[in-house]
């Protein structure tokens, strides 16, 4: 991983005096850390559906409610009851002073409305929140983030809790300007333990030997999951270290092999009897301009990044009983799949394909109590980005609202949130972990 020298320099006051803005050091999650490191301000527009539940959740996590003035660690506005342009005035009335009080790495979290069918004004207002939150994400400073969670009328507070916790906590350090829709849960939400939300769950992570996959394995294990670490046989030594560190098993498997789904499912059936979480993380790049592209580069990228996910998902769906009661599939897409990237037609095609797959698969999984979502990482500091030319790397890092690259753990934390049984109301969605990158937004 490469060092962010510029961010380190901007921590010095004499550098700041030169007029160089300070690049924030983000607060990241550590076990035992409080949900927020200060009081929270909670407001509601009209008769908010969840304001009381939010207050209860915060109180349960030991977070004090903010007083009349002073810095706040989070400002949460329950705007689920906002349906008219007049209601938006109340939103501004709450947010303007709230943003002024938001402390370093603060959280601005809006709970947005869902318009009733045929109510044109309500639809306009609901959409207005997206513009609002994306602009706020670009304005908030010092590592703060702004996100919008919409809640369907048939989703209750229990379906919302794990998502609230994720966006308020340091786990969402590099997630900003995002819109997540919480719908009716696909199955029982169940009680969750915020300290070990994945306790007892069996989680497969492909591409687990290094980089983001390694971090996903470590993070899911930290949250209580048993890890089945999968990677190509050639990466077996690094994979063994991950498996031993996480007390899981290593499965050396080329996921593009014809018998790969069979071998993966046989391993799961034999060793565990079920699977609760599948993280499709394995991916490769074979960059070339379209004009110079060859079939080999094109097909190998699509085989690993898209076809393998499709075939494994198909096999999981076809198998009666292997998917646990609250199965969660999380697919790693990419910002390139949304925004496109010069030299990456193959990669972007595969990663956009992942998004299409997730949307189409969600309704098929819902009757089995399972969800499927995609995460689209932006610029994440890995061994791969460390090899980029300096200028390209610097540009890649700075063009987001947090003015820095994310860490593999930022992607892993988002995976952990979607992997929880409690996150039963989020499915078929794409969440970007990119610090609100300007590309494709």
């Amino acid at each position: 991983m490469s060092k962010d020298t510029l961010r380190e320099l901007t921590q010095y006051r004499f550098v700041q005096r030169l007029g160089v803005p300070r690049i924030p050091v983000l607060r990241r999650y550590e076990p035992g850390q409080p949900l927020l490191d200060g009081p929270a301000l909670v407001g509601a527009v009209g008769k908010g559906r969840f304001a009381d539940d939010v207050r209860a959740l915060l109180a349960g996590a030991g977070v004090a409610e903010a007083g009349e003035d002073g810095k706040v660690a989070a400002a949460v506005l329950d705007a689920t009851g906002a349906h008219t342009v007049d209601d938006l005035a109340a939103v501004q009335e709450f947010l303007t002073p709230a943003v002024r009080r938001l402390g370093p790495c603060g959280r601005l979290l809006l709970l947005g409305p869902v318009a009733a069918e045929g109510d044109v004004e309500a639809a306009a207002v609901a959409q207005a929140f997206e513009g609002l939150v994306r602009s706020a994400g670009k304005e908030v400073r010092a590592g703060a983030t702004a996100n919008l969670v919409t809640v369907a009328p048939d989703a209750g507070a229990d379906a919302l809790a794990s998502t609230l916790r994720f966006f308020l906590s340091a786990r969402s350090a590099f997630v900003s300007g995002q819109v997540v829709r919480v719908g009716a849960p696909v199955g029982p939400v169940g009680a969750d333990d915020p300290a070990r939300p994945l306790a007892g769950r069996i989680a497969v992570v492909t591409g687990a030997a290094r980089g983001i996959g390694e971090s996903i394995a470590d993070t899911l294990h930290r949250d209580g999951a048993t890890i089945v670490a999968v990677d190509v046989p050639a990466a077996g030594d690094a994979l063994a270290r991950v498996a031993n560190r996480t007390g899981g098993t290593a499965l050396q498997l080329d996921i593009t092999a014809a018998d790969a789904p069979d071998r993966l499912l046989a391993h799961l059936r034999e060793r565990y009897g079920r699977v609760d979480v599948v993280v499709h993380n394995a991916g490769i790049t074979r960059d070339k301009l379209l004009a110079n592209m060859d079939a080999d580069r094109w097909n190998s990228v699509l085989a690993v990044n898209l076809r393998a996910q499709l075939t494994i998902n198909r096999a999981l769906l076809a198998d009666e009983g292997l998917l646990g009661d609250s199965a969660r599939i999380v697919c790693i897409s990419s910002m390139s799949g949304i925004a496109g990237n010069r030299g990456q037609t193959n990669y972007a095609a595969s990663k956009a394909g992942v998004i299409g797959m997730v949307r189409a698969l969600a309704p098929q999984l819902a009757p089995r109590g399972a969800t499927v979502n995609a995460i689209a990482p932006g610029f994440i500091e890995t061994a791969m980005t460390a090899k980029m030319p300096l200028a390209t790397r610097e540009a890649g890092r700075r063009i987001n609202s947090l003015r820095q690259g994310g860490l593999p753990v930022d992607v892993a934390e988002a995976v952990g949130w979607l992997a929880q049984a409690a996150t039963a109301g989020v499915t078929g969605q794409v969440v970007r972990v990119d610090g609100q990158n300007m590309l494709g937004a």
Binding site: A229, P233, A234, A235, G236, D237, L239, A240, R241, A243, N244, R245, G247, G248, T249, A250, L251, Q252, L253, D254, A257, D259, E270, R271, Y272, G273
Partner: protein, 428 residues
Amino acid sequence: MPETRRKAAVIGGNRIPFARANGAYARASNLDMLTATLDGLAARFGLSGQRLGEVAGGAVLKHSRDRDLTREAVLGSSLSPYTPAYDVQQACGTGLETVVLVANKIALGQIDSGIAAGVDTASDAPIALNDDLRRLLLRLNSAKTLGARLAALRDLRPGQIVPEIPRNAEPRTGMSMGEHAAITAVEWQVSREEQDELTVASHRNLAAAYERGFFDDLVTPYLGLTRDQNLRPDTSVEKLAKLKPVFGKGEGATMTAGNSTPLTDGAAAVLLGSDEWAAEHRLPVLAHVVDAETAAVDFVHGRDGLLTAPVYAVPRLLERNGLTLQDFDFYEIHEAFASTVLATLKAWEDPAFAKERLGLDAPLGSIDRSKLNVAGSSLATGHPFAATGGRIVATLAKLLHEKGAPARGLISICAAGGQGVVAILEAA
């Protein structure tokens, strides 16, 4: 005490790719390689932090600092430090002998699980001090007065600087293993062509096994090596025919660097357990260890070749189990040299040898050669002495499991010192 006699289960194995001496593992020690191999096995079967019944392991070429090498490897691995371990040494039979030891303890109910392992490096071989110098230094160390110390130092001589380098030679004959094998090859009239054909088959079988992903759950890469460094998938009888003989003399010299196993570095381990232990831990049972036999021959004063002990061990093992040589689906005969395998097969086919030397009415007969070393053997993988047994047991167990019960396999490993270890596995 448990009243039990059960068959030990082979659950699986792990090895690192074998490297040619002074190749990819030139700077790796026995301890490094054995630890990495145990860690790979632990990862494959989720044993991290678990206490096992025991780990038996060993090496043939050992440094003096490698005292209790296996225990040190366990302590450096992700296995629970509460797992006991001990070292075994029986030349090239070491690896299979560790399997027998662990399997026997499981069979007797003394332990429920264990790992049998072996490692060797020809690159990081021990070099010892000249014996004269060593004695002088010991005397210096025990000297109590300055005078005695000076007296010891006065005996220092330039010649004492020459170190003791380990030689691939039998202490009692001064001959190398290859030279011994060459005598046996002549005795059994093993032709150059036969040896080269067996060599080609070994390389092709190993390459094909890699290609079909057979080793995906048997091998873990190490230090950048993902396949055995000695493997030559494109070798041919024509290419091998060009090599000059390196062992034997004159007309009868048939053994080349191609049809002899090169010096190799590597390590292998096998996970064994009772069926119950495997079931409790949701682990597969690939095969069971049925029986084993070790034989030794008098190659110093007698008529036997150095590497011919398995010729004697197998008939004893077959008789005890009521089997014939033809009752097997797979034969794993360690390819120390191509000529060793061929001479062994010829000895079993020879009526006179059966009668006079084995004391049998009829020879064991010939085997179906298509069942021999079907996933390659030492000529292609290389042969890190103590690691070969573990490689063969894990490979055969997987082959048997693929074929399914009631498949049966025979293992035969010749060893320096005129010894040989053989065993029977059956599919689970």
